[in-house]
């Protein structure tokens, strides 16, 4: 575990920048988090990234808390705090600063165009997240089957996704994945 100040500073800077570029929500930033932490800095492996992502999804609380788990893996407790503050702080300050202006122009043409323009970008980014996690997680046909099964379960039933996660965990416990 490296928790020297250089790592913390790098972590802070990366996530603070990401905070502004997470269009449509925190999930949009997952591909860039992967690029920065796995491909460039090599703080963790592809597999570790996808496993930590899964733990965060299976835990209660906001999904963005994945950044705390990632920060903890990279730089311990200070890493968890730094990553969380960096990911949430800048966007909160921005939201506070512009909320009244944006609210006033709720019906304005530019606001509608910006909102409509961001939708397909968000979809592309979340799809990229799915690809990155699937590429790391689906190493055999059982993995593919779990991914497809979970998709079908979440898409076509109104039951809690936790049921699908529990089944996936059991199949994994059996050593099939």
């Amino acid at each position: 575990m490296t928790n020297d100040s250089a790592t913390l500073a790098a972590l802070f800077l990366q996530f603070a920048i990401l905070s502004f570029f997470a269009v449509g929500g925190g999930g949009s930033a997952v591909p860039e988090m992967h690029r920065q932490t796995v491909e460039i800095a090599q703080w963790l492996t592809d597999r570790q990234f996808s496993e930590l992502f899964a733990v965060a999804q299976a835990a209660p609380g906001p999904n963005i808390m994945f950044v705390a788990l990632l920060g903890h893996f990279i730089a311990g407790v200070p890493g968890a705090v730094v990553a969380t503050v960096a990911m949430c702080g800048p966007s909160c300050v921005l939201a506070y600063a512009v909320s009244h202006v944006v609210d006033r122009f709720r019906e304005a043409r530019w606001r509608i165009a910006v909102q409509a323009g961001l939708v397909p970008v968000t979809i592309g980014l979340i799809a990229a997240s799915a690809l990155i996690i699937a590429r790391a997680a689906d190493n055999n046909w059982v993995g593919f089957a779990i991914t497809a099964g979970t998709f079908a379960f979440v898409h076509w039933t109104r039951l809690s996704p936790l049921v699908a996660f529990a089944c996936a965990a059991l199949v994994g416990l059996g050593g099939f994945v």
Binding site: A22, G25, E51, P62, A128, T150, F153, H155
Partner: protein, 196 residues
């Protein structure tokens, strides 16, 4: 100006006295570990139905605003709600309430992962969970994209696919890609609003 207040906001006014700092912290701390994959639904129940700190209308407007702005939606929501209720200290109370317990939980989970993550049994469980997580995001993508399916193939499909390829396949830098693709996409959307 009174004339700017929408009529429906007057019909169902939210609680007259704004909640205290302690109220805010406790309310959002209660949300922190509730709900799986959807804290927003719980936030709505708490703010609109139980505490009546906001009307349904106010909730929807603030949510739309936070989905419009970059960053995690529920976190932005919490910050703007807190600031409007009790200024900057209110925002900090909401944020530490929402995020504090979760950070502690993640530190605990991360510690367990570091210690036991390599054990074969747990490794299997985590592999299963990761494969499931991939399926769950795919379902999210389809849900988000459903409104687009109503249109014939058009520029918004091209934008979604271009973003996916640039980020997911070519692994280009997110800020770089967004600096090109976001203005393009907004310009295309601007032209569409003109056509109507």
């Amino acid at each position: 100006m009174p004339s700017e207040i929408p009529a429906d906001a007057l019909d169902a006014p939210s609680a007259a006295a704004p909640p205290s700092i302690v109220d805010l912290f406790l309310a959002f701390a209660g949300l922190s570990l509730s709900g799986f994959g959807g804290v927003l639904a719980w936030a709505r129940r708490m703010l609109v139905e139980n505490k009546r700190w906001m009307t349904a209308e106010e909730f929807n407007h603030l949510l739309a605003l936070c989905q419009f702005l970059p960053g995690p939606n529920i976190v932005n929501f919490c910050a703007v709600f807190g600031v409007r209720a009790r200024g900057v200290p209110g925002a900090l109370a909401c944020l530490t309430g929402l995020l504090g317990p979760s950070v502690v939980l993640m530190i605990a989970a991360g510690t367990l992962y570091r210690r036991f993550g390599a054990l074969p049994k747990l490794h299997g469980v985590l592999s299963g969970l990761a494969a499931a997580a991939a399926g769950m995001i795919m379902a999210t993508v389809v849900k988000l994209a459903e409104p687009l399916f109503r249109f014939r193939l058009g520029p918004e499909h091209a934008v979604a696919i271009a973003t996916f390829v640039a980020i997911g396949v070519l692994r280009l830098s997110l800020p770089l890609v967004l600096l090109v693709i976001v203005p393009t996409s907004i310009a295309l959307a601007w032209r569409r609003t003109n056509d109507k």
